[in-house]
Structures are given as structure tokens and as C-alpha cells.
């Protein structure tokens, strides 16, 4: 059962962050996923990122759909409110939650079935609306929770555990996200925490729709030899495009500065992100270049990881709608209800 609480043992030696909290304060309940499931590594990376960023966990809301992946918000950030909604509809819940209170951080967690099939429409529309949130897909190329059917991100060359061929082309969520104007598009691998944690941290710093597609092997249904989402396959074909550094100091520097192989991007909160490119031929600030690189590398069977595209110039949903800075859920009723004198005027206009 998943409501098992972790024993509350205090380790006096545990490192504390600026809020005086330890990693333990960012944990959740004990995971009930299969031992070795990639999703658990992602939960650990999220905990790590939040701890390192000194995030006040109660100012974050975690939202998900349905699936093994969507269960994971129970396994991290116990101090955050969570919403495990219905299959494929987390983007709309996140959109509404964000509209009601723009001051919180919204972390959406989904699966490849949840996002690329039943929820494809909502995923696309949340991106084009530029909802300010982090959207993580824990991508295992299969439906874990319903026991191993192909998902829409399963590569055409991939075979099921029973050896069935996959008849259909895969949907590449990063390509789709770039096409639809997401300003932060990254891919990570659950098996490379060192690379993943900075990506998640950068996503938290980003203002707008930050998308991370995280390849996350399903050890039970999709970790076999003919799978392109297995640990072995991804380790062998992983091509990191860049390495990220988050620089907290707020030195005066313009948004995009080229320093040879390093691109520096100023994030919304004033901090800087240094992007050390490992491939000369692509520019993460240029969506065309990112798309070309993705397509070429995919054709070679490579799994490209890293921050693939960034554009932090666009307005988010609230800015587009012109909503007030004050969270809508905090606007007093007295300011929302025009009162009887105004109603009398409205009545008059209806005569």
C-alpha cells in the first residue's frame, strides 16, 4: 500500500539548505513502483533539485494524470499539495490551478501514454497557452500501469517484450514541443542523475512552459534487448548536447552572450544559466537548429539529451491574458462583486 510513511529518523549530520531543510524534508511516501523503475530515479532527481534550489515545498503544487509515472508525486515533496487527476488531463488542471494562483510553482508529471496518446491535445494546448509550469514526461515507451502495451512514443524499430513489432511511427515530444513554441525544451535520462538534476533545476528557474522529456526505462515491460527505451540502449546511444551550470549571482549581463562554446541565458529571476555546448553545429536559442539536430540524430538512432531549446523572451499565459499580479484566489470578494448600486445601473440598461 502506498500510504506507508517513511520512518522519521533524524540524521543530525544531514546537510541543510538555506531554508534549514534537509533532503528528507523534500521526500514523499515510500514508492510502490517496481524495483529499478526509472520513474523512482526521477523522483529522486526532483527531490535533489528542489533541495538544492531551496524551494519552499509548500509553495509548489504537484499535478499528474494517471499511470505509474503519474503516481510518483506521492513519492516526493510531502509538504506540497498534490493532484492526481484523470488520465491525460493534467494539463488542464495545471492551467486552471495556475490561473487561480500565479504565485505558486506548478510541477506536472505525466507518462508517455498520458501525454502522447490520451492527453496529446491538452499537452499541445497547455504549451501554446504558455502556462507557466514544469511539465515532465516520464517516458518509457510503454503503458506501464496497464501492463506493457505500446505507447505512441515507442520507436518504430522497437519491439514489445513478447517480440511483437511496433507498426507505427513514434511521436517525438521534444520536436512537438519546439514546434508548438514551448520556450524550454529538454530531454534527460533517468539513468544519468548528474545530467538530469541541473536540467530540472533550470526548468524551475524558467518562466513559462518548461518541458522535460525524461527517458525512464520500465524494467518490467520495456527493458529488453529489442527495446529502444531500455537502460542498455539509452546508455549506448545517449548523446548529450550540452552541460548546464546555474549561476546564482546576479551579475549584469545581457540575455544571450556567446562565449565560444558557452551560451549564457538570463533566467526570469535574474539568475544566469550557462550552457556549455558539446556540439558546435547547433544553437539552442534557435528552434530551427534544434529541430534539425533532433531529426538528424534521431535518424542515426541516437537519443539526444540536454537542453535542446530555450527562448525566454515570450510572455506567459497570465501576461497574455492581462490578469492582475495578485493571485486571483486572493482577490477579496468585495473587489469582485460590483454591488447593488452597479446592478441598478445594469437593470436600467435592460429597460
Amino acid at each position: 500500500m502506498t500510504y506507508m510513511k517513511k520512518p522519521n529518523v533524524r540524521h543530525p549530520g544531514l546537510r541543510k539548505n538555506d531554508l534549514g531543510l534537509t533532503r528528507r524534508d523534500y521526500e514523499g511516501l515510500v514508492s510502490t513502483l517496481c524495483a529499478g523503475c526509472g520513474h523512482d530515479s526521477i523522483s529522486a532527481a526532483i527531490i535533489e533539485a528542489c533541495f538544492e534550489l531551496d524551494l519552499p515545498a509548500h509553495r509548489l503544487a504537484k499535478l499528474s494524470g494517471i499511470g505509474c509515472s503519474s503516481k510518483t508525486p506521492t513519492y516526493f515533496l510531502n509538504r506540497s499539495h498534490g493532484f492526481n487527476s484523470v488520465h491525460g488531463r493534467m494539463p488542464s488542471i495545471a492551467t486552471g490551478a495556475n490561473l487561480a494562483n500565479r504565485d505558486l510553482i506548478y510541477l506536472g508529471v505525466s507518462g508517455d501514454g498520458d501525454t502522447a496518446s490520451i492527453g496529446l491535445g491538452q499537452f499541445c494546448h497547455a504549451m501554446r497557452r504558455r502556462v507557466n509550469m514544469i511539465y515532465i514526461v516520464e517516458n518509457n515507451g510503454t503503458y506501464g500501469l496497464t501492463k506493457g502495451q505500446f505507447s505512441a512514443t515507442s520507436d518504430r524499430v522497437s519491439k514489445s517484450k513478447k517480440g511483437e513489432a511496433n507498426l507505427f511511427e513514434a511521436i517525438d515530444l521534444c520536436t512537438l514541443a519546439i514546434h508548438l513554441g514551448a520556450g524550454f525544451v529538454a530531454r534527460g535520462f533517468s539513468g544519468d542523475k548528474g545530467h538530469l538534476v541541473p536540467l530540472i533545476k533550470a526548468a524551475f528557474r524558467y518562466n513559462g512552459f518548461a518541458f522535460i522529456d525524461i527517458v525512464s526505462p520500465c524494467v518490467t515491460f520495456n527493458d529488453h534487448e529489442d527495446s529502444t527505451k531500455s537502460y542498455d540502449y539509452v546508455r549506448a546511444h545517449n548523446e548529450a548536447m550540452d552541460r548546464l551550470d546555474l549561476v546564482p549571482e546576479r551579475e549584469e549581463i545581457t540575455a544571450h552572450t556567446e562565449e565560444g562554446q558557452t551560451t549564457t541565458v538570463r533566467m526570469h529571476d535574474g539568475s544566469l544559466m550557462r550552457l556549455h555546448k558539446l556540439d558546435d553545429n547547433y544553437d539552442p536559442c534557435d528552434s530551427e537548429s534544434a529541430l534539425t539536430t533532433l531529426r538528424k540524430r534521431y535518424a542515426k538512432g541516437q537519443v539526444v539529451t540536454g537542453l535542446l531549446h530555450i527562448d525566454n523572451t515570450d510572455a506567459d499565459l497570465h501576461e497574455l491574458l492581462g490578469t492582475t499580479k495578485q493571485p486571483l484566489n486572493a482577490v477579496p470578494m468585495g473587489d469582485l462583486c460590483p454591488g447593488n448600486a452597479e446592478l441598478a445601473k445594469i437593470n436600467k440598461s435592460l429597460r
Binding site: 509548500h58 488542464s92 486552471g96 490551478a97 490561473l99 494562483n101 491535445g121
Partner: protein
């Protein structure tokens, strides 16, 4: 045949020809002359070229239902001449465009030909103007024929084009053109005519969707998400229009977020997300949208997320008759979603009640922590109704229900999202971001215990389901009460109705009463039913349940949920899509009374007791 302030005028047009605005001008001018008008717009699901009608009943007695049949028919659509002609009462009038003169072959109808197309062709150059002003010309002719106060009509034009002054003059000129023609060629006024009266001055003319949109504004809704569908679209549009004015801050930002979603699933998802996060939120749709929202309605019921959903009902099933009215989503909404679900429904009976019940809906939703569905329909939602003015009590406090803030959390020993500490089935919720260490919980649609944790313990789940039942039963006592109208204290015959059938039922009841049939009526305003409902049923032997659907959905609900013996409930059903007439209701009830021996017995008993 003299008819003063008591007749029906009907306009037969082709849709897309710009007639709506002229027809509304006609109705509004009569309303401003103090008359009771009942305008009904009968339109096709189409943008251009199909028949459309606009009917205005003027009622001396202040009736609000359709009457049926027509005294003055303005037949502008040759496609429907035959049908329109047949609609006219003997001695009535047919006005038609006589640019191409013709005869109609009904001796008992007075035909008034006006060469409208020719007049407009002579007066205007652009094809658009030639078309548009045709509508204004026939209204002009009617001002003379019916003896309307021309000053009022002109003022109505001026108000209509406020902010676009250069349109006023041409419209007035076109009115005059029709008016002069009628004066020169016919004996004006006709025996059918109007006379200015001093009506209760404060009445308003408003659609239910506009009133419901205003209700959302006054209820403090700050998030709305929707997907366009007739007949619900104008509800959010009205909200948006008023919000533009009343939710604007000095710095130019606004206290509202309105999103046109990609579909109804997203619309309700956005609303649930916002409501979960503490904003008052709503969405508005019609039958097909309700079907799409099914899964989410179950989640919101089970996870106990409060929001308001409007179902402006139209003809179903499927796409059905999208521009006709029906009350056919009753069971679909009452039991919306899979598993054991029950939803709270409110049934406004006119636009004023759309306003009042909308505000109540938001309070009830947050008090009960559940979705509340406001069951309007096309007739209330889209037609203009004459109503008492909307009212707001400035001392009214919005009921935000049981929400724990940081201070309460600090004082509390422990917090369980679904922990029924008050024993009323309603538990406390917290909003995300409230407290650094307390009050966080996990909202989920899967089975959960009092602390919102996932559980597969069947007994724990059953207990939670029982609590939801208790909550729903308790809710019955908080619902708006049914409106009971007694014609006789002893009558054993009753009528149960709800929503837009009210005017026809009331009028029918009065007509039946004149013939010696005394029926008491109960207009339902909410589900779950309060105890008044079963009480009313207990006091009557035969009860006619008037509703606009084929399957007697409200009757089913009354049997299932109020425990009323089926044999007591006699269905009076209409599913042709038009607002009811009193005549039809009366005939249906009379037919049953005359045929059904047990009804006769109930009548007999009531006569005995009198």
C-alpha cells in the same frame, strides 16, 4: 375582431438576412410602451439561408408563455409561405413583400402587400443595405398598423446604436419609409393594436444567459473556461462583457481569467484546477459538452472540488436539435459520471432566477464542496424575458465553506482532508501554499481514507462513500425550496414542473381552474429534493409531471429519489423543441382527466372535500 395589447405577431425570415436586430427593436419598443411581451426566437442551426422565425406575444394579462397561432404574420420568406399562412388565426393579417404580387388563397385572412424589396432597391445602392433595411421597413409599417408610439421606437433605435450614431438616421429613415407606406395604403391602425400602459416601471428585459453571466460576476467568479456551443455560448460572452468593465483594475490588469478551451474536457479541467486552488470558477455548456465532461464530473464529486457548471439544455440526443429547447439532460446530470455519483442540480425558472440561483450555486458548491450544475435551457438562456429587476443585497456574504487557513492549521491538532469532524459529511479543505508544514494533502480520484491517502481497504472506501451519501442527504435541506402554488386547499390533483415550463404551466393552471379543475402546482428548483417534495406528493393523489423530454426524466428522479409512488405521477411530455404553450398543457391534462378513471376519482375526492 378588436385586440388591444393582446395578440401575437410573428416574423418569418431567412437567417443571415439581418432580421434579428429589427425584430428585437420591435419587441423592445413594445416593452418600453409598458406592454408585456413574450419574444421567442426560433432559429436554425445554420449561418445563412434557412428559415427563421421571431414571435412576439403581447399579453394584456402579463402572461409569459407562448400563446400559439398568429394574429399578424410578417412573411418575408417565400420558402415558408404555406406554413406561415396556416399559422394565422381567422381574421388575422398577413404582411408580405409584394414586390412580386401574389395571392394566398385564404379568404379569412387579410393580406397586406408592401413592395419592400422594390422600396429598398429604390432607396439604397449597396446590396447589403438593400437587404438589411428591408427588415427595418416592415417594422416601420408595423408601427403604423399597430399604432405604436413612434417616439419610443426612435429612442430604442438611438439606444440600440449608441456609440455608432451614424447608423441612427438611416434606420429611422427606413422606419419612416415603412410607416408612411402603411399610412398611405392601409387603414391604420388595425383593430389589432397596442395602447401605451403604465406598467410596473422597474421591469427589465433580459436573457437567462446574460442574467447567469451577471450572477457569476456577482458571485465573485474569477476563472471561467468554456468551449463554444449553442445555446450556452452567450453566457460566458455576457460574463466576459461585464467583466471587461467591472473586473478591470486601475493599472489595466484584470481580476478575471477567461479561457476558451480546446474542448469541454479541458474547460472543466481548468475549472476544477482553479476551484481546487481556491478561485470561484465555472464553465458553461450544453448536452454534448456534458457528455464529454462526464469523467471529470466524477472526479470532482469524489475528490470534492467545488465549482459551477451551466447546462443550457438543447434538443438531444447527440447533436439533436441544437437550436431548439429541451429539458432532456436531467438524469444525465443528476447521475453524471461512472460509479455511484450524484450531482447537485438547480433549476432556474426564468432569467431573474438564473441570476439568483447562480449566486446560490457558487455558495452551495463551496459549502458542500461539490460541483453544482445549473440546469437552464435554450428558451430561458437565449430568449428575452420580461422580469423583475435583478437585486443584490450588499450585506450578503459569499459563503466560502470550510477552508482552513494557516492560523486554523496551527491551532488544529491534526488535519485530515476527508475527516468528518463536524459530523455533517462536509470536511475541511486547505488551499495549496497555505502553510509551510501543515495541511498539504493529495487530491485523487482513487479511493482514499480520511487523510486523503490512497487505500484499497474496501471498508474504508465504503465509509467514505457513505459519508458522501450523508453529505448529499444533508444538502437537500440547504437547497432552494420548491415554489408551491395552491389553487385549492383540498384538491387532490397536482402538477410538478421546473425550469422554463413555468409560464405555460401557470397559465394552463389558471385556464383549468376556470373550467373547474383545481390543480396545485409545485415548481422544483433543486435536486436533491427537500422534504417539501415528498410532502406535496403525499397530499395529492394524481400529479402531472410536465417536462420537455421523451423519457419522463424528472418523473424517474422523483420516483427514485423522493420515493413518490409511480402510479401517482402522470407524465405530460413534450419533446418538439419549442417553448410550451398553455393551451397544449391544458389540453394534455384535460385529456388525461377525461380518460383516466383514477384521475376522475382523485377529482371526485377533491370535490367532495371542498
Amino acid at each position: 375582431m378588436k385586440k388591444i395589447n393582446d395578440f401575437v405577431v410573428k416574423f418569418a425570415n431567412v437567417n443571415g438576412s439581418g432580421s434579428a436586430s429589427a425584430n428585437l427593436l420591435f419587441a423592445k419598443s413594445l416593452f418600453r410602451m409598458g406592454l408585456s411581451v413574450v419574444p421567442k426566437n426560433v432559429f436554425p442551426s445554420n449561418i445563412q439561408g434557412l428559415p427563421t422565425w421571431y414571435e412576439v406575444r403581447v399579453s394584456q394579462a402579463g402572461r409569459r408563455a407562448r400563446r400559439g397561432r398568429v394574429d399578424v404574420m410578417v412573411a418575408m420568406n417565400p420558402q415558408t409561405y404555406a406554413q406561415d399562412l396556416a399559422d394565422i388565426v381567422p381574421g388575422g393579417y398577413l404582411i408580405y413583400d409584394s414586390s412580386l404580387p401574389r395571392s394566398f388563397g385564404r379568404e379569412d385572412v387579410n393580406v397586406l402587400g408592401i413592395p419592400i424589396a422594390r422600396m429598398c432597391a429604390d432607396a439604397y445602392v449597396s446590396p447589403r443595405e438593400r437587404q438589411l433595411f428591408k427588415n427595418v421597413v416592415y417594422v416601420g409599417a408595423l408601427t403604423a398598423l399597430l399604432d405604436m408610439d413612434f417616439t419610443v421606437v426612435k429612442q430604442t433605435v438611438r439606444d440600440r446604436f449608441k456609440g455608432n450614431a451614424k447608423l441612427v438616421e438611416p434606420n429611422v429613415e427606413a422606419l419612416k419609409m415603412g410607416r408612411e407606406f402603411a399610412r398611405r395604403n392601409f387603414t391604420c391602425p388595425l383593430p389589432i393594436r397596442v395602447k401605451k400602459v403604465k406598467a410596473a416601471k422597474d421591469r427589465i428585459m433580459i436573457t437567462g444567459n446574460e442574467a447567469a453571466g451577471l450572477g457569476c460576476l456577482y458571485a465573485g467568479a474569477s476563472v471561467a473556461a468554456w468551449y463554444p456551443i449553442t445555446p450556452s455560448t452567450s453566457l460566458v460572452e455576457a460574463f466576459e462583457r461585464h467583466a471587461r468593465k467591472y473586473r478591470q483594475r486601475k493599472d489595466g490588469t484584470s481580476n478575471v481569467a477567461i479561457v476558451q478551451a480546446e474542448d469541454e474536457l479541458a474547460a472543466i479541467g481548468i475549472v476544477i484546477g482553479a476551484a481546487w486552488n481556491g478561485a470561484r470558477a465555472f464553465t458553461s455548456t450544453s448536452g454534448p459538452g456534458i457528455s464529454l465532461m462526464g469523467e471529470f464530473l466524477g472526479l470532482a464529486y469524489f475528490a470534492e472540488v467545488p465549482f459551477v457548471l451551466f447546462d443550457v439544455q438543447r434538443g438531444g440526443p447527440s447533436t439533436g436539435m441544437p437550436t431548439r429547447t429541451q429539458q432532456s439532460d436531467i438524469t444525465a446530470c443528476a447521475y453524471a459520471s461512472h460509479g455511484d455519483t450524484k450531482q447537485v442540480l438547480l433549476f432556474p425558472g426564468d432569467p431573474k432566477e438564473c441570476f439568483d440561483l447562480t449566486v446560490d450555486a457558487f455558495d452551495l458548491a463551496e459549502r458542500l464542496q461539490t460541483p453544482v450544475i445549473v440546469m437552464s435551457d435554450l428558451d430561458i438562456g437565449m430568449n428575452e424575458w420580461v422580469c423583475d429587476p435583478l437585486e443584490w443585497d450588499d450585506t450578503r456574504k459569499h459563503d466560502r465553506g470550510k477552508v482552513m487557513d494557516a492560523e486554523m492549521l496551527d491551532r488544529a491538532k491534526s488535519f485530515g482532508r476527508y475527516w468528518d469532524i463536524d459530523g455533517d459529511g462536509i470536511t475541511y479543505r486547505t488551499l495549496p501554499g497555505t502553510h509551510p508544514t501543515k495541511g498539504a494533502f493529495f487530491t485523487r480520484g482513487s479511493s482514499h481514507d480520511a487523510f486523503a491517502a490512497y487505500t484499497e481497504d474496501g471498508q474504508v472506501n465504503a465509509e467514505n462513500m457513505d459519508r458522501l451519501t450523508r453529505k448529499f442527504e444533508m444538502a437537500a435541506s440547504r437547497m432552494p425550496k420548491p415554489v408551491i402554488r395552491k389553487t385549492s386547499r383540498t384538491s387532490k390533483l397536482g402538477i410538478i414542473n421546473f425550469g422554463s415550463t413555468e409560464p405555460a404551466v401557470r397559465e394552463a393552471c389558471d385556464l383549468l381552474s376556470r373550467e373547474g379543475y383545481k390543480l396545485n402546482t409545485m415548481r422544483l428548483r433543486a435536486f436533491p429534493f427537500g422534504k417539501e417534495v415528498a410532502k406535496f406528493a403525499a397530499k395529492h393523489d394524481r400529479i402531472f409531471v410536465v417536462e420537455q423530454n421523451r423519457d419522463a426524466q424528472m418523473r424517474t428522479l422523483l420516483i427514485n429519489e423522493a420515493g413518490i409512488p409511480p402510479e401517482k405521477l402522470v407524465s405530460v411530455l413534450d419533446y418538439e423543441g419549442m417553448p410550451l404553450t398553455a393551451g397544449w398543457v391544458k389540453r394534455e391534462i384535460e385529456a388525461v382527466i377525461e380518460k383516466d378513471k383514477s384521475v376522475a376519482k382523485a377529482m371526485y375526492l377533491s370535490a367532495q372535500a371542498m
